[in-house]
C-alpha cells in the first residue's frame, strides 16, 4: 500500500501555489497572497518539523521508488522551507505593491517544491524533474524586475548557462542509464557493485564529469560558477537569496544523493575531481570576493567560496583512508553548513535588499549595493546594520553563531580523514574570508554617515532578526538538535 501522506508538505505547497496563481487572477488586494504563501510555507515546514527526529525512511515508496522521504530529504526540505519563509516575508515588503506579486509567490513556491523534490528523489528522472522545476521557476524569478536591465541580464545569463548545464546533466545521465540500465540511484549503485570494471570505463567517467558540471552549475563550483556572481548581483536581492540559499543547496542535495549513494563505486575518480574543485572553488571565491566593491556581488562570491567548503564533504567521503566516523562527520558537517549557510546567506541577501531599499529612499546613488553606500550604516540604520553584521559573522564562521559550529564540524571531518593539506587550505581560506566580511562591517560601523538616519522597515528587520536569533539559538542549542538531525540524515545517505 503506497502511503502518500509523507508527501503532504510538498502537496501543500503545490496547492498553495495553485491557489495563489488562480486567486491572483481575480483579486486586486494581492498582498493577501503573500500571507497565503507564508501560511502554506509555514504549514509545510511544520509538517516537516513534526517528524524532525525521523530516524528511518518512510516505509512507503511513492512513485515506484522514485521518491523517498527520509531524514536527508527532511533536513533539506526544512532548509528550503526556512529559506522560503524568509524570502516570502521579505517579499511582503519588497513586492507588497507590485501588481505581479502573485506570479512571484507562485513561482517561488514551485521552485521550493522543485528543490524539495530533488532532495527526496531516489531516481534520476525525479531528480531531473525537480531540478528543472526549480530552475525554470528561478529563471523567471531572476528576471522578475523586468524593467531593470540588470535583472534581465541576470536572468539571461542564468538561463543560458542553466540550459547548458541541464543538457550536460542529461547527457551524463543518459550514459549512466545506458551503462547501468537504470535511472534508480540504488539500482545504479548495485549494478556498479556487481560489475567493478564498469566504473573504470571512459564513458562513465565522462558521464560523471558531466554530472559534476551539471550539478556544479547549481552549486556554483569554479569554473561553472561564472553565471553566479552576475546573476546574484543582477537579480532582485530576495531572489538572489532564494538562489544562493535554496537553489544552490538543491545542487548539493542532488550531488549528495547521486555521488555518495549512486556512484560510490567510482569514488576514486570523484575524489580527484572534487578535490580540485573544492580547492579551486573556495580559493577563487574568496580571492575574488576580496576585491569586490558591490556588497551583493561580494556575497555572491562568498557563496561560491562556501560551496567550496561544502564540496570538501565529497573529498572526505571519497577519501579511501577516511574512517567511517569521518565520512559521517563530513556529511553531517556538510549538511549543517548547508543549513547555516542557507539561513545566513538568505538573510544576508535580504539585508542587502533592505539596505538598498533604504539607501534608494534617501540618497541619490547609482548602485545602492556599492560598499561605499554602507558608510555609517551603524548609525543610520542601527538594527539592520547590527543584524547584518551578525549574519556576516555567521558566514565568516565567528562564534557565537551557528555558522561557526557548522564550519567547525565540517573542518573537523577533514582532520579526521587525515586530509591535512585540504584542512589547512580550508582554514586559511576561511580566515581570508573574514577580511571581506570585516570590510563591510568596518564601513557600516566606522565610516562617516552620508546622510540622516533611515526609517527601518519592520518587515525586513523582522526577517533578519528571525534569522539571527535562529543562528544564535542553534549555536547554543542544548542537546545539539541540528547535529543529531544532520547525523541521522548523513546516515541515510552514507549508510554507515
Amino acid at each position: 500500500m503506497v502511503d502518500y501522506t509523507a508527501l503532504l508538505p510538498e502537496g501543500l505547497l503545490i496547492v498553495t501555489a495553485a491557489i495563489v496563481l488562480l486567486a491572483g487572477l481575480f483579486i486586486t488586494q494581492k498582498k493577501i497572497l503573500g500571507y497565503i504563501t507564508l501560511v502554506g510555507l509555514l504549514a509545510s515546514l511544520g509538517l516537516i518539523l513534526k517528524d524532525w527526529n525521523l530516524t528511518a525512511t518512510f516505509d512507503s515508496a511513492p512513485f515506484y521508488g522514485a521518491i523517498v522521504v527520509d531524514p536527508f530529504s527532511q533536513i533539506f526540505g526544512a532548509m528550503f522551507l526556512i529559506v522560503g519563509v524568509l524570502v516570502a516575508i521579505a517579499a511582503l515588503k519588497a513586492y507588497g505593491d507590485n501588481p505581479r506579486q502573485d506570479e512571484f509567490y507562485s513561482m517561488m513556491l514551485l521552485a521550493t517544491v522543485g528543490m524539495m523534490v530533488v532532495a527526496m528523489s531516489k531516481d534520476l528522472l525525479a531528480l531531473f524533474i525537480g531540478f528543472e522545476l526549480a530552475s525554470i521557476s528561478t529563471y523567471a524569478l531572476a528576471g522578475f524586475d523586468k524593467r531593470d536591465p540588470k535583472s534581465i541580464e541576470a536572468a539571461l545569463k542564468y538561463f543560458l548557462i542553466g540550459g547548458l548545464s541541464s543538457s550536460l546533466m542529461v547527457f551524463g545521465i543518459s550514459y549512466i542509464y545506458g551503462l547501468t540500465g537504470s535511472t534508480n540511484i540504488d539500482t545504479i549503485a548495485s549494478v556498479f557493485g556487481a560489475n567493478p570494471g564498469l566504473a573504470a570505463t571512459p564513458a562513465i567517467l565522462l558521464a560523471m564529469v558531466m554530472l559534476i558540471a551539471g550539478f556544479g552549475f547549481k552549486m556554483a563550483f569554479v569554473p561553472f560558477h561564472m553565471w553566479a556572481p552576475d546573476t546574484y548581483e543582477g537579480a532582485p536581492s530576495i531572489v538572489s537569496a532564494l538562489l544562493a540559499a535554496g537553489s544552490k543547496k538543491m545542487g548539493f542535495a542532488a550531488a549528495f544523493r547521486l555521488f555518495i549513494v549512486g556512484l560510490v563505486a567510482m569514488k576514486v575518480d570523484w575524489y580527484i575531481a572534487f578535490m580540485i574543485l573544492a580547492v579551486v572553488t573556495m580559493t577563487v571565491g574568496n580571492i575574488l570576493a576580496v576585491v569586490q566593491t558591490s556588497v551583493k556581488r561580494m556575497l555572491a562570491y562568498s557563496s561560491i567560496a562556501h560551496a567550496g567548503y561544502i564540496a570538501v564533504v565529497f573529498v572526505v567521503v571519497a577519501y579511501w583512508n577516511a574512517p567511517d566516523s569521518a565520512v559521517n562527520l563530513a556529511v553531517t558537517g556538510g549538511l549543517m553548513h548547508a543549513f547555516s549557510h542557507a539561513i545566513g546567506k538568505a538573510a544576508a541577501f535580504i539585508a542587502v535588499a533592505a539596505i538598498a531599499y533604504m539607501i534608494l529612499s534617501k540618497d541619490k546613488v547609482d548602485d545602492p549595493n556599492h560598499v561605499e553606500n554602507y558608510d555609517g550604516l551603524g548609525k543610520r540604520a542601527p538594527m539592520t546594520a547590527f543584524l547584518f553584521a551578525l549574519l556576516l559573522c555567521s558566514l565568516a564562521g565567528i562564534p557565537p553563531l551557528f555558522g561557526f559550529t557548522s564550519k567547525f564540524v565540517l573542518f573537523l571531518s577533514t582532520i579526521e580523514a587525515g586530509l591535512l593539506g585540504l584542512a589547512i587550505i580550508c582554514v586559511l581560506n576561511s580566515a581570508l574570508s573574514v577580511y571581506y566580511y570585516a570590510k563591510v562591517v568596518m564601513r557600516m560601523y566606522w565610516g562617516e554617515p552620508k546622510g540622516e538616519a533611515f526609517v527601518e522597515s519592520s518587515t525586513y528587520t523582522f526577517v533578519l532578526a528571525i534569522a539571527v536569533i535562529a543562528l544564535i539559538v542553534l549555536f547554543f542549542a542544548p542537546g545539539d538538535m541540528v547535529y543529531q538531525w544532520a547525523e541521522t540524515a548523513a546516515h541515510a545517505v552514507t549508510g554507515v
Binding site: 543560458l160 548557462i161 558540471a213 575531481a273 580571492i287
Partner: protein
C-alpha cells in the same frame, strides 16, 4: 659572650626599621610633605634621624655591650629567597656612616634647597635613597642587596635629574643609569649563576644568602662554567656591577656628568654613600672573591688603574664639582685596589678599605657641601676660572673646604692620612708578599698621591685665593645656619676621625672581626668560616702575621703629597710658573686629558650614537619592511591576484559557456591523468 643586658634596648632586633623608617619618610614626604613645615624636609630628616638612633644603638649593643652579631630573615617570594638583615661590624660601619652623613646632608639641604619649589619631592627622593642604601648595607643575601642596589640607582637617576627642566641634567641621569645598567645586568647574571650553582649543591633555604654561600664555598669552588671556575666568572660579573656603581674604569663616565644634580645629591650619593656600594659589595662578598682564582687580582688592578687614571683627569678640569668627582673616582679606586690586595692581606684589607670609605665619606661630603656653599654663594658658577678670592667673603666655607682638601690629600693627622697611607703601605706589602700584580698596584697608588695633592689644591687655590675673576665672585655671600652647622660637624670628622679611632686601629680591629668565626667580642655569624682555607680554594695564600714595610715606603706618600702640594702652591698660589704655555689646545697630552682619553667620545658618539643608532635604524627597517613586509606582501599578492583574475569574468555569456565546457574537459583530463598516474 656576655649576657645581654635586659635593661637596655636591643636595637639589633629593630635593624629592619633602619630601612623602613626612611621609606615611611619617603611616603609621607611625597604625599603630605608639601603641606608641612617649610614645605618639605621634616619627615625625611626626622626619619633618618630615627634610623641613625637605631644604627648607633646597634653599634652600642655590639661594640660596647658585646651583644654579638645578629642575623635574621623572613621568607620572601620564591622558595629560598629571603628578606634578611645582618648586623655585623661591616654593616654597622656602613649604616652608622650613612645615617650620620645622610642626616647631616639632609640638615644642610634644609638650607640649601630652601628656595626650591619641589622641595618635598627632593626630600622624598633622598629619604628613599637613604632607606635603600640601608637596605643594601643590611642585606644578608645577594638578591636583596641587588634590589636595593638598583633602588639607589633609581634614586641617583631621579636626583641627578632633579632639575629635570635642564636637558643636561636629564641626560646626565640617563647616562648614569645606562652606565650602571651595563654593570648591573652582568651583576644580575652573576647572581643567577650563583643561584644556580647553589641550588646544585642542594641548598634549599636562604639560597643566595652570604652565609649559605660562605658555608659552601668549598663545594662551589669545584663548579666550572665554560672551563673556567664558576666563582671566578661570578666574581668578574660582580666586579662589572661594582665598576658601574662605584665608577670604576671604564664605566666611570657618568660621575662627572652626574654633577648636574643638586650639590647635596653629589655629596650624598656620588661621594659619600651610593658610589661606595660597590666597595661594600666586594667587602661583603670578600670570601667569595678570595675563593675565586684570580678574581682579586682583577679587582686590585681595576682599582689601582682607576685611582691613577681618574687623578690625571682631575688635573685639567675647571669645574669645581667635577674636580671632586674625579677625586671620588680616584679614591674609590684606592678602596677597590686595597680590597684586591686582600688576596694577601686577608680580612685586614676589608678593614682598611672600609676605613678609607668612612673617612672619604666625611671629607668628600665636606668638600662637596662646601663647594655647594660656594655655588650657593656666587650664583651657581662652577668654573674655577671664574672664582678667586672667595676666602675673604666666605670664611666658614673656605676653611671647611680646606679641611676637606687636607684630608683628601692625606695631610698628616687628618682622617685621610691614616686611611690612605695605610692603603699604600699595605699595597707595598701585597707586592712583597707575592701579590699577583707585584708592584704595579703600589706604583699606581703612589703616583696617584702626588696628582691628588696637585689637583685638589689647584682647585682650592684658584677658588679661594687670588683676585676675583668674575663679577659674582667679588661679593660672595656666606651660607646660613643649616649649612654652616653641617660644615662644622663634617670638618671635625674629616680632621679628627683618624685620631678618634686611635689612628684607625680601633676601627680596623672591630672590622676584622666580621669574617672571623670566633671573635673576642662575640660569636661570629659565619660559623666555620676560615679565611685561610678559603684563600687556598682560590689559590691565594694569606699572610699569617703582620708585616711592616720599610720606613721609606711609609714616608714616600707623605713626601709625594708635599711635593704635589708644593707644585700646586707654586703654580696656582705664588704663580711662579705660567702653565698657560702647556695648557693649550695644541698640546697633545693636554688634548687627551681634556677629552678624558676620548672615552666619552667612544661611548657616546661612536657606540651610542653611531653604532647603536645605526643598528636601531636598521632594525626598524627590518621590522617594517622585512618582517612586516612579508605580511603585507602576502595580502598584496592576494588582492592583486583577485584584481587580475576578476578580469576573467568578462560579462559575456559565451565566455561563461566556454568556461563550463573548458571546465568539463579539464576535469576529464585531470581525472584521467591523476588517476592513471
Amino acid at each position: 659572650m656576655m649576657d645581654p643586658n635586659l635593661t637596655t634596648i636591643d636595637f639589633r632586633m629593630y635593624a629592619h626599621w633602619i630601612v623602613l623608617l626612611p621609606m615611611i619618610g619617603f611616603l609621607l614626604e611625597l604625599l603630605i610633605g608639601k603641606y608641612w613645615w617649610r614645605k618639605g624636609g621634616m619627615f625625611a630628616t626626622l626619619s633618618i634621624f630615627g634610623s641613625m638612633i637605631i644604627s648607633y644603638g646597634c653599634l652600642y649593643n655590639v661594640y660596647v655591650q658585646h651583644l654579638g652579631f645578629w642575623e635574621y630573615s623572613w621568607p620572601w617570594f620564591y622558595d629560598g629567597i629571603v628578606a634578611g638583615f645582618v648586623v655585623d661590624p661591616l654593616s654597622l660601619a656602613m649604616v652608622c656612616m650613612v645615617s650620620f652623613v645622610s642626616f647631616f646632608i639632609h640638615f644642610y639641604a634644609i638650607g640649601y634647597m630652601s628656595h626650591d619649589c619641589a622641595k618635598n619631592v627632593y626630600f622624598a627622593e633622598t629619604a628613599l635613597f637613604t632607606g635603600s642604601m640601608f637596605g643594601l648595607v643590611l642585606a644578608n643575601n645577594l638578591l636583596q642587596l641587588f634590589i636595593f642596589w638598583e633602588m639607589v640607582g633609581v634614586c641617583s637617576y631621579l636626583l641627578i635629574g632633579f632639575w629635570w627642566h635642564k636637558p643636561e641634567a636629564a641626560a646626565a641621569g640617563k647616562k648614569a643609569w645606562m652606565s650602571c645598567a651595563v654593570g648591573d645586568c652582568l651583576f644580575l647574571l652573576g647572581i643567577a649563576m650563583m643561584y644556580t650553582i647553589m641550588v646544585k649543591q642542594g641548598i634549599t633555604s636562604e639560597i643566595i644568602s652570604f652565609n649559605a654561600i660562605f658555608q659552601n664555598l668549598e663545594h662551589l669552588s669545584h663548579e666550572a662554567l665554560f672551563g673556567v671556575s664558576a666563582l671566578t666568572i661570578i666574581c668578574i660579573l660582580f666586579m662589572c656591577g661594582v665598576l658601574g656603581k662605584s665608577a670604576g674604569f671604564p664605566l666611570h663616565v657618568w660621575i662627572p656628568d652626574a654633577m648636574e644634580g643638586p650639590t647635596t645629591v653629589s655629596a650624598l650619593i656620588h661621594a659619600a654613600t651610593m658610589v661606595t656600594a660597590g666597595v661594600y659589595l666586594i667587602a661583603r662578598a670578600f670570601p667569595i672573591f678570595l675563593a675565586a682564582p684570580n678574581a682579586l687580582m682583577i679587582v686590585a688592578f681595576m682599582g689601582a688603574f682607576t685611582a691613577l687614571y681618574a687623578s690625571t683627569l682631575g688635573l685639567v678640569v675647571n669645574d669645581l664639582k667635577r674636580i671632586f668627582a674625579y677625586s671620588t673616582i680616584s679614591q674609590l679606586g684606592y678602596m677597590i685596589a686595597i680590597l684586591g690586595c686582600g688576596a694577601v692581606l686577608g680580612v685586614a684589607s676589608v678593614a682598611y678599605a672600609l676605613f678609607h670609605l668612612v673617612a672619604h665619606a666625611f671629607f668628600k661630603a665636606l668638600l662637596f657641601l662646601s663647594s655647594g656653599s660656594v655655588l650657593h654663594g656666587i650664583g651657581n658658577i662652577r668654573d674655577i676660572k671664574e672664582m678667586g678670592g672667595l676666602l675673604k667673603g666666605m670664611r666658614w666655607t673656605g676653611y671647611a673646604m680646606l679641611a676637606g682638601a687636607l684630608a683628601l690629600i692625606a695631610f698628616p693627622l687628618t682622617a685621610g692620612y691614616y686611611s690612605k697611607d695605610r692603603i699604600i703601605e699595605d699595597a707595598y706589602i701585597y707586592a712583597t708578599h707575592g701579590g699577583d700584580l707585584g708592584y704595579m698596584v703600589w706604583i699606581f697608588l703612589v703616583l696617584g698621591v702626588i696628582l691628588t695633592a696637585t689637583y685638589t689644591f689647584r682647585a682650592w687655590y684658584l677658588a679661594m685665593t687670588g683676585e676675583p675673576r668674575s663679577y659674582p665672585a667679588i661679593h660672595p655671600h656666606e651660607c646660613g645656619f643649616w649649612m654652616k652647622t653641617t660644615l662644622v660637624v663634617l670638618s671635625f670628622f674629616a680632621i679628627f676621625l683618624g685620631i678618634i679611632t686611635g689612628g684607625g686601629k680601633d676601627f680596623w680591629h672591630f672590622l676584622e672581626e666580621t669574617f672571623v668565626h670566633e671573635t673576642h667580642t662575640a660569636t661570629g655569624i659565619y660559623p666555620g668560616l676560615n679565611l685561610h682555607e678559603i684563600a687556598h680554594l682560590g689559590g691565594n695564600t694569606l699572610m699569617h702575621h703582620g708585616a711592616h714595610p720599610p720606613s721609606w715606603v711609609i714616608y714616600l706618600p707623605l713626601l709625594l703629597m708635599i711635593a704635589g702640594l708644593a707644585i700646586a702652591t707654586t703654580v696656582y698660589y705664588k704663580n711662579r710658573i705660567d702653565v698657560s704655555k702647556y695648557v693649550k689646545k695644541d698640546n697633545p697630552l693636554y688634548q687627551i686629558l681634556w677629552n678624558k682619553y676620548y672615552l666619552d667620545y667612544l661611548f657616546k658618539d661612536i657606540i651610542a650614537e653611531k653604532i647603536i643608532m645605526t643598528v636601531f635604524t636598521f632594525w626598524d627597517v627590518l621590522d617594517r619592511y622585512v618582517i612586516d613586509g612579508v605580511v603585507n606582501l602576502l595580502s598584496w599578492i592576494t588582492i592583486q591576484s583577485g584584481q587580475v583574475s576578476r578580469k576573467l569574468q568578462t560579462g559575456i555569456v559565451q565566455n561563461y559557456a566556454t568556461a563550463v565546457i573548458f571546465g568539463v574537459s579539464m576535469l576529464m583530463i585531470l581525472v584521467i591523468m591523476i588517476r592513471g598516474g
